[in-house]
Each structure stands twice: as structure tokens, then as C-alpha cells.
Amino acid sequence: MLNQGNPIALDKMMLRMMILRLLLPLFLLGLLSIGLIGYLGERSLEVQQIQRAEFVARIVNHYLDQSNRILDAIARASQNSTPKELSIFMQSTWEAYGYFDTIYYLTKDNRIRQLVPPNPRYLGLDMSNLPYIRGNIDKTKPEISHTFISLRTGSPTVYIIRPLPDGGHVVGELSLKSLQDEIELNKSAARAEAVFIMDSSGTLIAHPSESLVREQANLGHLEIFKKGIRHATSSVYNYMGMGILGGAVPVKQAHWVVVAQTPLLMVLGPYIWTLGAIFLASLIVWLALVWNLRKQLRFHVVNPLVQLSLGTTAIAVGDYSQVSVLAAMPIAFAELSRLATDFLKMRDALEARQIALQESENRYRSLFDRVPTGLFRSAPSGQLEDVNPAFINMLGYPDRDKMLSVNDADLYLITGDRDRWHNLVEQTGLVRDFETRMYRYDKEIIWVRINSRVATGGNDEVLFYEGSIEDITDRKRAEKEVRELNRSLERRVEDRTAALKNANKELEAFAYSVAHDLRAPLRRIDGLSLAISEDYSDRLDNLGIDYLNRIRVSAQRMGQLIDDLLHLSKIARIEMQIEDVSISKLSTFILSSLHDREPERKVSPIIQTDIDAKADPNLMRIVLENLLENAWKFTSEKEEAEIEVGTIFVEGEKVYYVRDNGAGFDMQYAKKLFEPFQRLHPEAAFPGNGIGLAIAQRIIARHGGRIWAEAEVDKGATFYFTLP
């Protein structure tokens, strides 16, 4: 799963990015530049206002300086003139300059001595209560009084009080009307754009609107005044409900302030409108751009992606037809196009695989349903999850649902079996040929064989068990029958064997008695034949004597045969003493005694050392005597005879052998070899009674071993025997 909580749609994200990454920075940049330009514009405007104020302040200073100089001149004149001359001088000065409404000349006790224009009403008046006269300490500098509205002219007016060195003052009533005229001359059309002059209390001295001056309007509350009275300054403030930018310059000598101000809106108005319009236009363009971009994005990217998503969903539920819409979508981007192509390819591949899977599934389902072996899948809890019809049939349930409602533990006859199977399957993962008994639906018990395995998930947890189950009841029954049959057979064999043994013993006893009984007549035949030949030799011709000799030979031979037979049967009856026997030593001894008997023969014995056997030593000697004599005999015609005794291992079994390079024999008679009195060669060539091998065979048989021979005519023979 994707771990994102709430992923946002592409176009929404784009919009958000456009706003956050594009619009907002642009907006801020715009605001910043507006602010910066505004600030710079405002700064230059402030400087401009200060310059305007300075210009007027210079005029005011000039006006006051000029007035001071006039009073200075009168003051100097008063020192060296008669009152008459002074009066004329004051009059002419007053008329010439016209700055002053009235000029007073005060005596030491501050009474008016002279004034122009002359007015008898004021002559002699006591002016000592004028503040700047009463409190004047510095007697050399002229003082400028507070402004007041002259009752006569209605204009703002100040007293300029010039102290005289010897006491007394020259006082000029200076009208400030000309400053008002100056201001009005440069009056602007705009109400709030103005240059005006205030006195130290903020009362207007000159203002474009003269009535304000006459009404002694006070603007002392303006921030610009409070600052401007100290030093040249500029600030933005509120005036008559308007944002105003003003510059103020103090007129130091009178403690006045000149203010030049202009409404911010008037200056900044067009600028703000232009910027606002640009801003709005940008916003509209931006919105249009975003709208268009979004439309394009939706058409070219989002819709295909949505279709892709829908297609994926359709495929997820197995509907492969939906995706064809995608093929018809207009796709403008290579990546998207590739994605769509890949998607269609994936759809095709998926569809093909799905079909193949379906077919496979069908095939296997059919196999599952029809296979005669019961197949099952069960949960780790034992609950059966799926079974095939064969399974149901095997257990005789009426239908699949009944079958699936069963827990497999309930099927077992012996609960322990189920646990055993469970342990096995859990430990090894695979259980083969597990046989147990189960209850059928009808409570009949059947034998089954279960092959099963564990299906595990990624973390080795057991998902389910699955396997096959076979009904082996019939086989089990058959096996039981076979077992029973075998048992009876064995019993019968034992019975027969016992009978046979008895018969054998009786036969041997019979044979022995027969042989024993036959020897006596034979001896009498032989004896009598001898007696005839000896007693009647004169009476018998040669032929007769020859016949008698032949009878004797036959009788002797018969006696020999009977002895052999007796010998043979005796061997069968001898009690065996099994102990360690050295075959090597025994063979060497026998061969040396044979060599002693016929020292002229050249025979090379090749005897493997340390051949041991567990056998009866007497019987084993007889076997070896027979085999070695046999070999001695059949190599008699060889110049260089070889007789070999050894062992080999054939399929893990120790096999003893005696080999010679003598006459050999034809293998087709090999079977006859060990029968008594069978001869493969004429007696004349190799004498013998033909019973030795039979005896050897019987002894080996009595030890539980086998004996056989391999040979080829004139190439020698090998006799093999085994001992258990």
C-alpha cells in the first residue's frame, strides 16, 4: 500500500504549486516593489516638501530680519536725536518701508512717548505689562512677541520689541499680512496641498485659506508641528481626514514653523491606480493562464490518468474491455503515451495469462474432479476446505457440503493416528504412504493411505495441508489372506519335510541294510568264482576262465559300488562339528600326498595362503580331497599342470574355488556332474568311480552352501563352492 495519507489530485497540486510557488512569490515581489517604489517616491516627496518649506522659511526670516534692521535704525536714531527729529525719522521710515502697523517709542518707564501713525489716545499709555518688556533680561536683542490678531486690521500681528541701551524700548507692531499674501500667491488648487506658517503655539500666521488665520485656527496638535518647531523634519500624518505628507522647517528667531504639505493620495493616487491596474491585469492574466493550463492538463494528463486508473480498476475485477477507451484518448506526452502503450500491452499480456490460467484451472479442476484418488485441502485447524468427488465417494458422504462440514480429526478411527500424522507433517512437511483407518459416513471403517504435504506462507506459517487419500481396504484384506495362506503353507511344508526326513532316514537305513545285505551274496559270488577258477581250472577252457574272471571283476565292482553308496549315505548321517578350518593348509597337505603318490608328474600348485572356513574339518577334508584328486586326475595328460586353490568375492559372498588346466568338460553336462556315478570321460582315460563330486556336493549342501563348476574342453575346469 502507498503510505501517503491523502494524496492530492495532480491538477489540484499544480494549482496549489502555482499559487504557492508562483503567485505568492509574484504577489510578494509585487508588493515589495510597490512598497519600495512607494517608499522611494515618498522619500523624494518628503525632501521636496522640506525644500518648499525652507523656501518660505527663508522669506519669513528675511522679512523678520528686515523688520529688525528698521527698528535698529530707529533705535540708533533715538540715541542722538531730539524728539522732533526722531518723530520725523520714525514717520519717514514707517512710510518708506510699510512693514509696521505702528511703531512705538517707549520711555524708560515704558510709557508711550512717540508713535507712528500718531494717535493721541495712546500717547503716555503704560506698556510695562507687555510680557517681553516686563520679563526682558537681555537688553540688547530684539524680542518677537506672541502673535495676536490686531483689532484694527484683523491680521495676525507681532510686537518686535527692541530694547534701548539707556532703558526704554522701540516697539514695532509688525503685521504679518505680507506673509499671508506670499502664501496666497503660491496657493494651490488642492485644498490640502498648502504651505502655511504657525506660531510657537501652533496658531496659524499664514495659510492659503485666510479665514483660518483670522479665526486663529490652531494646528498645534499636528505631529509635524511638534517636531518641526525643533528642527527641519518631514512626516506623514492625518489632516482633515486625509493622509498628508508634510515637511516642516522652523523659523528659529521667532519660534515659528513653516509647513509644506501635500496629500499623499493626490501624489500617489495615479501611481497607485496604475500599479493597481497592472496588478489586477496580472491577476486576470494569471488566472486565465492557470485556467487554461489546468484545462490542458486535465485534457492531456489527468483524464488519461483517470482512464488508466479506471482501466486498472476494471482489470482488477477482470474486465478487459474498458481499457479500449484509453486507446482513443488524445495523449500529448511521450511519457504518457508510453505509459498507455505499456498499459495496453500489460492488459493484453494479463488477459492472455488470465485465459491460460483459466484453461489450466479448468483442466486441473476437471482432473481434480475426476481423478479416482481422493484429494483434499484442510486448514491447520483440521477443517476440510476442499475435497474432490472421489474423496466424498470414498468416505461415503452424501454431498460436498456435508463433507466440508467435517473436521478431519473426526474421521480417524484412532485419534492417536491423527496426532501422529499431524506431527509428522508438521515436522517433515511431507508424509508419504501414511496408513490409517477411517470412519466412513455410515460408520463403516476403511483403511486409507494418505500422502500429504504442508503448504506454508512466507513466514513459514502453515497455510493449509493438502494431499491424496486412497482406499486400501481391499489390498489390506488381500494381504491378510496371503499372510494366512503362507502360514498354512509353511505348516504343510514343515509337515511334509518331517515326513520326507523320516522317509529319507528310512530310505537310508533301507539302502544301508540293502547294501549291507547285498555284500554277503556278492562276497559268496566272488568267493565261489575264485574257487571254481582255482579248483576247476583244468576243466575249464580259457573262455570259461575268462568268464569266471569277469564275474569276479563285476562282483568286486558291485561290492565297491555298494561300499561307495554306503559311504555316501554315511556322510549324510554324520554329526557335523563346525570349527575353524584352514583350507590352505589342508589343500597343501592333500596335494603333497598326491605328489608323493605320483612323483613323476609335474604339477605346479598355486595355493592362496590363509584361506579359512567355518566347517567340519573331516568333511571339508573329504571335499578338498575329491576336488583336488579330480584336478590331479584330469591334468594327468598335461606336461605342465597347474592346480590353484583360492577365494573370490561374488556379490559380497566369499566363494572358494579349485582350478586346474586339465581336460575340462563340456558345460552342457555341467548339471550331471554332481550326480552319483555319472562320468564325463571314459574310465580308461581317467579312472574313478564317479561318486567323489556327488559326495562333495552333499557335504557342501549339508553346510548350507552351494557348489558349481565352470569349464571348457581341454582348457581346464574350476569348481566353486560357498560356505555360509
Partner: protein, 390 residues
């Protein structure tokens, strides 16, 4: 995102922009939420403009103070100022202007002539008019809507006459008065004269003059001196009173001088020189008060306007204060304002408390001061409703 979603987003942006605009305007609106308009009309130019200007300053100071403290219920007060130029017909014009501009009340006028002229107008408009300084006795009972924070001068003239006769022991007195402000000076002179005579004193001569004509006072004063009086009452403006006082001394007539309340200003002292030392002034206001409220006011006023407040400034301030108090009760509306003003009782002024009687006239004490060392010093307080010195 649906199309609607996109439109929603755009709408949101526009909404935000609009919201900022609205907020800014609302913010601005809050700052001066529908100001309450108060009118002020008096002579700001011409003769006696000093009273009008100072009363205006007092009103302005009160308004600025209430605005600085947040206004009335968050509403600022907008003071509309008009100059009636001291002319009755001009007074009528400006008052109509103010009423048209939507003022809830008018403070004005400074002198009784204009006040009388606008009475019919305020009656018609049902707009309250509070005068700081109009003291004509015949304004009493002229209008339901007229109030004043000063005492009618007839009361003061009578009390002043009694004081001079009984306590200054002056039995024979002369009077000089300015006919240019007849509404005041004529009636003051008449009430003073009748009272003085009533008390048994003699008013030897009453000399009228017109200040506009700038007369030569010396002959008038010499004529009055010839009647052999013990004192002289001057009923004139501050400057004329100073001039008359100076001329009196210049002709060598060192007689006790008395002045009506009209001249109670700094100008009297500045222009009077040593000649006004000892002059006794009937005062509508105790500018010598040491009360905390008054010294604060005096300090603020000086700081604000660069000059000492005169009685007009103090009365203008009090007129504005009593109006503001009533407006606070009516929530800034003119309805019920008259009734609220009538209820005003023991209103704490700067120096003393006052109440309005049923005619809207202030009932409060007044004072008698004397100029000593260039300063007016209060020497007597006369309680309301009493013609006797306490």
C-alpha cells in the same frame, strides 16, 4: 478536482482579496465609526473675537480629549466650527448651515446679540444650543432648547452693585459703557444702576460710548470726575477697559475702578499696565482657582494653544463637557438630549459645580477679583441665588 472546485478556488482567491479590502475599510470605519457632529458658532474674527476664539479653543480641547479617550460609544466627535463674525444675521446663516450638516447640538454663540438672533432657528430645528458666555437676562425663558453655562449678567450686575455699595462703602458711582455690545452692556448698566439706586446709592452719571469710533476718553472721564463720584464702573471690552483705566490715571484721577466681567482677560492686564492695578472685576469665572481640574485644564490649554485660558475658554470647555455628558446618556443622538441636559445637577465643572434650572440657565457661584501685581486675584465668591455676600 471538479470544475466547480476550480471555480471555488478562484472564487476563494477573489474572496480573500475582497475580504482584505472590506477588512481594511471596516477597520478604517471602526476608527471613525459615524462621527457625532457638534457645531460651534461664535465670532472668530472682528471685534470681541477673543471671546469666540478662546471659547472655541476650550470646546476644541474638550472634544480632543474625549476623542483621544475613545469618543462616545466608540464614536468620535466631529467639531464643525463656524464664524458668525459677531453679526446676528451671519449667526443665523451659519447655524442653519450647521443644522443642515447634521449636528446634534450647537455650542454658541459668544455674545448675546447673535444668540438671540438664532433662537427661532433652534426652536424650529429642535436643536439644542449651549452658550458658553451669552449672559443677557432676556435669553431666559426664550427657548426650550437654549442652555448656558454662565449666569445671566443681571444677577451678577445686581450682586456686584450690592457688593460695591455695602462692602466697598461707595455711595456715589459713575458708569461708562460701550454701546457697541448693547445687548450686554446696556442691560448690565441698567440692572447695576437700578440695584445701586435701590440700595440707596447714587449713580451720578452714565456715559455711553462706541468703541468702533475710537473716541478720545479724556473729555468723558474729566466730565465724570467733575460729578465727584467715589468710584467708576467700566462696562467695556478688555482693551477698552484697559485704555479707559490708563486714561483715568493719565489725567490724574486715582479713583477706585470697577469692571464688568466682560473685561476679565489677559489683554486687560497687558494693555492696562500699572493703571489697572487694584481694579475690581466682577468675574463669571474664578480663573484664580487652585482646583486640580482647573490647573490641569490650564496646563493643557497652555500647552495646546500657547496662551493663558480666559473665562470664555473655561466656559467653552465646560459647555462642551456638559454636552458630552448628556450625549453619552443619549448614545450620541439628539433625541432626548434636551431632557438629559435639564437633568444636569451638580455637574462638576473645572472650579465649581453647577446645575441647570428649568430655563436652562446655569445656577452657580460667581466671583469678584482684583488685579494685583499684574494678576487677577479672586477675593470674593458670590453663591448662586443669593444677592448677599456670604
Amino acid at each position: 478536482m471538479s470544475r466547480q472546485g476550480f471555480l471555488g478556488k478562484s472564487a476563494l482567491i477573489i474572496l480573500i482579496v475582497a475580504l482584505i479590502g472590506v477588512l481594511m475599510s471596516v477597520f478604517e470605519g471602526c476608527a471613525r465609526k459615524e462621527p457625532i457632529k457638534i457645531g460651534y458658532a461664535a465670532q472668530l474674527t472682528g471685534i470681541q473675537s477673543n471671546i469666540g476664539v478662546q471659547a472655541r479653543n476650550g470646546v476644541q480641547l474638550a472634544v480632543e480629549e474625549i476623542n483621544d479617550s475613545g469618543g462616545i460609544d466608540g464614536r468620535q466627535i466631529d467639531l464643525l466650527v463656524r464664524d458668525d463674525k459677531g453679526k446676528p444675521d451671519e449667526a443665523q446663516i451659519v447655524d442653519k448651515e450647521l443644522i443642515k450638516a447634521g449636528v446634534v447640538a450647537i455650542i454658541g454663540h459668544a455674545t448675546s446679540g447673535q444668540t438671540k438672533a438664532v433662537i427661532p432657528i433652534i426652536n424650529d430645528a429642535h436643536i439644542v444650543l449651549i452658550s458658553p458666555t451669552s449672559s443677557a437676562p432676556d435669553l431666559t425663558d426664550k427657548s426650550k432648547y437654549f442652555f448656558r453655562v454662565t449666569i445671566p449678567h443681571d444677577v451678577r450686575a445686581a450682586a456686584f452693585a450690592q457688593l460695591i455699595y455695602q462692602h466697598r462703602h461707595i455711595k456715589k458711582i459713575a458708569v461708562i459703557y460701550d454701546t457697541d455690545n448693547a445687548a450686554y452692556s446696556q442691560s448690565y448698566q441698567e440692572r447695576f444702576t437700578s440695584k445701586f439706586r435701590e440700595l440707596g446709592g447714587t449713580v451720578s452719571k452714565v456715559t455711553p460710548f462706541s468703541s468702533k469710533e475710537e473716541p478720545n476718553f479724556d473729555p468723558m472721564l474729566k466730565d465724570l470726575r467733575s460729578t465727584g463720584v467715589q468710584g467708576l464702573l467700566i462696562i467695556a471690552s478688555d482693551f477698552d477697559t484697559a485704555l479707559i483705566a490708563q486714561r483715568t490715571r493719565l489725567i490724574g484721577w486715582n479713583i477706585p475702578l470697577f469692571s464688568s466681567g466682560w473685561a476679565q482677560t489677559e489683554t486687560l492686564i497687558k494693555s492696562g499696565g500699572r493703571a489697572v492695578e487694584g481694579i475690581e472685576i466682577e468675574q463669571s469665572y474664578n480663573l484664580d482657582s487652585k482646583s486640580k481640574a482647573y490647573s490641569d485644564f490650564r496646563k493643557n490649554y497652555q500647552k495646546r494653544f500657547g496662551q493663558e485660558p480666559n473665562y470664555a475658554a473655561a466656559l467653552g470647555y465646560e459647555a462642551a463637557e456638559v454636552l458630552i455628558a448628556a450625549l453619552k446618556k443619549t448614545g450620541g443622538k439628539p433625541d432626548g438630549l434636551r431632557e438629559e441636559l435639564l437633568k444636569t445637577s451638580n455637574f462638576k465643572g473645572l472650579v465649581d459645580t453647577f446645575s441647570f434650572n428649568k430655563y436652562g440657565d446655569a445656577v452657580r457661584p460667581f466671583y469678584v477679583g482684583v488685579i494685583r501685581n499684574g494678576k487677577i486675584v479672586t477675593i470674593d465668591e458670590i453663591k448662586p441665588g443669593s444677592n448677599r455676600k456670604p
